[in-house]
Symmetry: C2
Subunit: 96 residues, 2 copies
């Protein structure tokens, strides 16, 4: 394999990075909407049971090569990000 092939593979990784980022941003937007509904309902936004269900569903749909352990690590980070953004918004709302 030549350097040009390596460059092509790297180009594909760059494209996939951006696609993953766009989807995580889309996901975060939907999670923000859910957060607003829950806030109106006076329900706690952090829902460990729902989180566990999502992880189980992801593991069932995991075709690899990612191991389920690494999958769990990555998605816990993604789940956390939705909550962090909601907390920031709430903090900012309190400061206004």
């Amino acid at each position: 394999m030549r350097q040009s092939d390596l460059d092509e593979l790297r180009g594909r990784v760059n494209e996939l990075n951006i696609k993953v980022l766009d989807l995580i941003n889309e996901r975060t937007t939907v999670v923000q909407e859910i957060g607003k509904v829950k806030e109106k309902q006076g329900v706690n936004r952090y829902d460990p049971i729902r989180e566990r269900e999502m992880l189980n569903s992801l593991k069932e749909n995991n075709n690899g090569p990612l191991s389920n352990g690494v999958l769990e690590q990555i998605f816990k980070g993604i789940f956390m990000s939705g909550l962090e953004i909601q907390e920031d918004e709430q903090r900012n709302a309190l400061l206004v």
Copy 2:
């Protein structure tokens, strides 16, 4: 907003979860190919400069609502996963 709307939003999150997972798996496959090339070339697979370049590019392409700080956290986890899988493969190869 009614419960059915909340269910719909959750359904969208579930779909996005699977899409993100599939893309991360696709990305990991390409990273594995890159790892094999680098191994043949006798080059170290972990490349902090390339990692930094990828993060900078992602931040430039980040349309939010994800903050760049959270973006960096999530993607460092994703980058790490590629390396972990390669190390596992190498370890398994040594055990054979």
